[in-house]
Subunit: 151 residues, 4 copies
């Protein structure tokens, strides 16, 4: 589905939309900054669904993922009722980890709200030690974004 | 520790305090109404700790709890930085369930913020069916509030 | 759009759907009970949008709403990834308050997850005292569900 | 109160503790990664209180803060009931922004859970444009950690 730009990076792809909930606002009248990590996480989960490799399949295959690092830059504030388009691309798949670039835009005016990334480590379900990201997962990502990121 | 009033109900007892977090406020500038259920839940969890019957011990004894019903009345609004005193009493222990009366007050002026209750059902860890609340738990509650509530 | 059953109550109407987020699960592997109040609140907010009387219009008309009471019964547990259909009907509109019956079902098997209600009080923006629910809001509800609930 | 190490950086100082709530765990049985940003934010808010320059005083002085960037590294997982010690130091105060280094440790075994930082931009309340961080705030930070960070 995806394409690759001339830096070797795939394009961002929208994976899900959510409308800002009242509970997600704070007394500044905007979405609390920590809430975007829930949106980021749902974007990654939707990627997993889109490549037919969700948490259930991970568990069947004996692994799961833990977040090792995450970062966000805040560009514009979202308000209650705003529809947010969450986009991502897999930036890198290493031996036992992968990094996803993530950004969120407001649907109404296409303004960038946040951008950043999250790195997940693949962990063996039994030993809880880092484990190799399976080939089937790598292939799913390749198909998703039209090319495997550098590892 | 507790005492019993002339209705046969024990007094409310403070079990934990929390300071309102910025993330818990909403754009009305007050604590979002759903947040109080997290406070209610922590009050119940602290009761479990206080009677030496926490979730780990439940699991060792083969059961856990599921919420069956909860209700809150909102009396006054709490704001960012307010310290909240969370109080409870066990209102009833049935065969396979128990109901806790809960209320929250603002420490600074002793104003009532919310009051209500939560009913937990005891569930067998394996069968996931309702199971009898163990005697040791009942005895812990009795010791906690100076008398066993009507069952 | 709505119809009225022979008890004088309107039918429940679906107002929005949400997919259970990973962050909404707890260590029991199900949606934390407090999260449903966020879903309940979004259902009510969507009702406001559907009748063209959202928070912005409330503010223009000089009022807002505060939750006075809420209650939920928990029937079945939802898990990560489940799609939830949130339904409601306005049960009663009083002078300065209204009560909404709410329920959530799992889309995949139509199982009831929770049911209950929430009562909002109309509050004057300036005085912060209870104020009459405006006629335009009442008329919006009437149109929404095919008849005005008893007041 | 603070001291400065030979890199010119002040020591981390504990500012508040919190016990992990049941609602903060996810189905992996650990604290959801996004929750730490709420803890980070409370650490910063407590710093503001400790230097007698809280949000109310900011508003009186015509400014507030918006998060511009945040990052966390995840070192160890916290579980339900764990007591977390939240520590910080102000790493840099620029003209219209400041960066706080943050870390969280488990009280029971002093294990590092997360570390990272958050950058706040000072924003004029009326114009919503970046504004100079007031001297009184800078002086509060200096007193807090025994020396002004490089700007």
């Amino acid at each position: 589905m995806g394409t690759t730009d001339n830096t070797g990076q795939s394009d961002f792809q929208p994976v899900f939309e959510n409308r800002v909930r009242f509970a997600e606002t704070d007394q500044q009248g905007i979405v609390f900054y920590g809430e975007y990590f829930t949106f980021q996480d749902e974007a990654v989960s939707q990627l997993f669904r889109d490549i037919d490799y969700d948490y259930d399949r991970m568990h069947e295959d004996g692994w799961q993922v833990h977040v090792a690092n995450t970062e966000l830059n805040y560009r514009n504030a979202a308000e209650f009722g705003d529809v947010i388009v969450n986009e991502l691309r897999v930036a890198e798949i290493g031996t036992a980890s992968f990094t996803v670039d993530y950004r969120a835009k407001r649907a109404a005016d296409d303004q960038l709200l946040v951008d950043g990334s999250v790195t997940h480590v693949a962990v063996d379900l039994e030993t809880e030690r880092p484990t190799r990201v399976p080939d089937a997962f790598r292939e799913g990502v390749t198909a998703f974004q039209g090319g495997l990121p550098d590892s």
